[in-house]
């Protein structure tokens, strides 16, 4: 039990309840209903506990709830008869959310009956104990909530796993996995396993795609709703639901319009919408009036969606907005360019960024053509030999 993270209080209560369970205690409830979000350790706590206490665990499957007969078959005897080796027994009805509608109602009723006459402790788990179906059932149960562990708790847990598995992991990598898991320990551990498998070292880079994968997927869904939704209301709703950065979305939509909208008039309309969205983006920026956001969003989503007839030209993948990716210059290049830019800046009353883009290309040609100019200007700019070589060598900006 100690290996399960978080919910210390709940785990303690669980243990206490099981240990003090007695078939003869009249006032106490015979069943414990554990509830909480998935991956918070409900099932595994029970399993671990029975292990710690050396108890026999009778665990159900989802199919065991189908009908009254099934339940009876599974648990009926178990709740009545003693165990083979004299061990104490615990019956676990796991994930009873799975019980559906009318067919299984027999099952729920039977569970309730079993609880009434059981001679062994019974534990149930579900995501939501306050579901309407469980109203009667609840009356016979003690309730226990398992909460989502915090990101920090998950992170600690992952660290421990890494230590045990002999994996050296960057803190930032584990943090990202923990963050993405949103309280679901199981998923965090699965992610860790998938990513760290066979590795000795886990860096942030290894996991960074997790961050973008999520966002990419969220964006893809919104894009689909913009380009292919049945009506503009759906489109509007889509962006409200999605956790997507509006500016990023604008870039994606803008980039992808011509690949999906082929009819020239529709293309023109859609581009007009994006242009309007851009105007609002700028207005928000300068006036800091965030109520204008709704127009920005509307034009970029519903506006674009409404512009065309959605005759899909087959399946077309969404393209990444390359416009926003920086030109890939290596670190060395960048450092050199910045240094040269600063030299030009000193003399030419221009920012180093502009110097590189607007002045350096000409300097390069001058240097290549004319020795005298090269000498004179390098001196004037105070460029060292390395810089001059770099410029002539054509390290492109």
């Amino acid at each position: 039990m100690s290996e399960i993270i978080g919910n210390e209080e709940a785990k303690r209560k669980l243990r206490e309840w099981v240990e003090t369970w007695s078939k003869k205690a009249p006032k106490k409830k015979k069943a414990l209903f554990i509830y909480g979000p998935p991956g918070t350790g409900k099932t595994v706590s029970v399993e671990a506990l029975t292990n710690d206490l050396n108890m026999e665990l009778v665990q159900s499957n989802a199919s065991d709830y189908r009908t009254a007969e099934a339940v009876e078959r599974f648990a009926g005897r178990a709740s009545q008869y003693g165990t083979l080796f004299g061990k104490k027994r615990l019956i676990l009805f796991d994930e009873i959310d799975g019980i559906s509608g009318t067919e299984d109602r027999g099952g729920l009723h039977t569970i309730t009956e079993i609880i009434k006459r059981t001679t062994s402790p019974i534990v149930l788990t579900a995501n939501n104990a306050y579901d309407q179906r469980f109203t009667t059932l609840r009356e016979h149960c003690e309730l226990l909530e398992f909460k989502k562990p915090s990101r920090t708790e998950i992170e600690k847990h992952l660290k421990k796993i890494c230590r045990l598995e002999g994996i050296e992991a960057e803190d930032s990598a584990l943090r990202l996995i923990a963050e993405r898991a949103s309280g679901d320990v199981r998923s965090a551990v699965n992610d860790l396993q998938a990513l760290a498998q066979g590795k000795k070292r886990l860096t942030y880079n290894d996991v960074s795609f997790l961050a973008s994968r999520d966002r990419k997927e969220a964006i893809f869904n919104v894009l689909r709703d913009i380009f292919y939704a049945r009506d503009s209301l759906t489109t509007k709703r889509a962006i409200e639901m999605a956790d997507v950065d509006p500016e990023m979305l604008l870039e994606w939509v803008y980039e992808n319009i011509p690949y999906h909208i082929k009819n020239p008039q529709e293309l023109s309309s859609a581009m007009d919408m994006i242009a309007l969205a851009d105007i609002y983006r700028n207005r928000i920026r300068t006036t800091q009036n965030w109520s204008l956001m709704r127009y920005f969003l509307d034009f970029m989503t519903a506006g674009v969606a409404a512009s065309w007839s959605k005759k899909a030209p087959g399946w077309v993948p969404f393209k990444f907005p390359t416009r926003i990716s920086q030109m890939s210059t290596s670190k060395v290049d960048r450092a050199m360019l910045t240094a040269i830019g600063m030299k030009i800046k000193k003399r030419c009353h221009i920012s180093s960024t502009r110097a590189i883009k607007e002045v350096l290309p000409y300097i390069r040609i001058m240097f290549q053509n004319n020795k005298e100019m090269k000498k004179g200007i390098s001196e004037w700019l105070d460029l060292d030999e390395e810089m001059v070589d770099y410029i002539i060598g054509g390290g492109t900006s």
Partner: protein
């Protein structure tokens, strides 16, 4: 003496005093009146690149403080010094110390002010207010629309426009004379074309062409400058007219990102090209109208590529219409 390029000509031939500035007449006379009054308000110098904004600011400072003006002037660029804290700290230190002499304040030239984030601009506004006794700000921008309103309302606006063709031509010839360079008329034309209205770029092109070492003709100019020639804009427009939006947009993107052309440059060239296009008059008018609208939007601060792409889409639509015989 025949000495080529010991300096960049953009600096060598930069006017030193307001009297030396040939263009921007109204602006120059206003600035001269500031000098006379020994008082300068906060200012915004806005306009396309290479139209003399930085020069005007430096000349103003020179005329105001005399030869030692550099002590009283600080130049900052938004793109090099990003972020709120840099602005605050640098400006604070500079503005805090009083200037000795007749003029009680110092001048801070903040270039690319329209590149500053709104947060940084807010911080700037407060700094401007606090230190207005000891420091006057001259903000330089391409698009004044990108500067937040609270700052705009505190500054005297100055609109710089593209220089007259004749004035630029005179300048080109003057520099060539001083440098002992031979240039043919067609060379001058070519330099003018590629330079657009950007004087800095024009002079850089001139110096680059001169580096070849022979009399400057059109071919020399085009060869040194490579693919940065005006026919790209026409080419882009034709590509759009033919229906290939994606390709046209790619060219547009290249112009902006790779060649550093400003939106205002491109719009200007598009505007002149429209009338040479092989489209019915009805469409010419429509397109000209749209160009005007988009130009205005750019001035207001909207995104260059996106707005110009919308224009390209209209060209695609025009081409389609025409093919259908509409």
């Amino acid at each position: 003496m025949f000495r080529l390029g010991y300096e960049m000509w953009t600096e060598k031939y930069r006017p030193r005093s307001l009297d030396d500035i040939v263009n921007q007449g109204e602006i120059v006379s206003r600035l001269k009146s500031f000098v006379k009054a020994k008082n300068v308000p906060h200012c915004i110098f806005a306009g396309p690149p290479g139209t003399g904004k930085t020069t005007a600011a430096l000349c103003l400072a020179h005329d105001l403080y005399g030869e030692g003006y550099r002590e009283y002037v600080m130049e900052l660029n938004a793109s090099d010094e990003r972020g709120i804290n840099v602005v605050r700290e640098t400006v604070k230190t500079f503005a805090r110390t009083r200037s000795i002499g007749e003029v009680s304040f110092k001048i801070l030239i903040l270039d690319e002010a329209d590149n500053m984030t709104s947060d940084a601009q807010q911080a700037l506004r407060r700094t401007m207010e606090r230190y207005t006794e000891t420091a006057r700000f001259i903000l330089i921008a391409n698009y004044s629309g990108k500067i937040i309103e609270p700052i705009q309302s505190r500054c005297a606006p100055f609109r710089f426009t593209y220089l007259d063709r004749e004035d630029v031509t005179k300048r080109i010839r003057y520099i060539c004379e001083m440098e002992g360079i031979q240039i043919l008329d067609e060379g001058v034309e070519a330099v003018l074309e590629i330079g657009g209205g950007d004087l800095r770029r024009t002079i850089n092109i001139l110096q680059t062409a001169a580096s070849v070492g022979k009399p400057i003709d059109a071919e020399t100019v085009y060869s040194v400058v490579g693919r940065a020639n005006p026919y790209d804009v026409r080419d882009m427009m034709l590509t759009a007219l033919n229906g290939d939006f994606v390709e046209a947009r790619k060219k547009l993107r290249e112009m902006i990102l790779k060649y550093g052309l400003a939106g205002s440059d491109i719009i200007g060239q598009i505007h002149s090209e429209i009338y040479r296009l092989n489209v019915p008059d009805r469409w010419k008018v429509k397109l000209a109208d749209i160009v005007g609208e988009i130009d205005y939007r750019l001035i207001q601060g909207s995104n260059e590529e996106i707005q110009l792409s919308a224009l390209l889409a209209k060209l695609v639509e025009a081409g389609y219409d025409i093919k259908r015989g509409a």
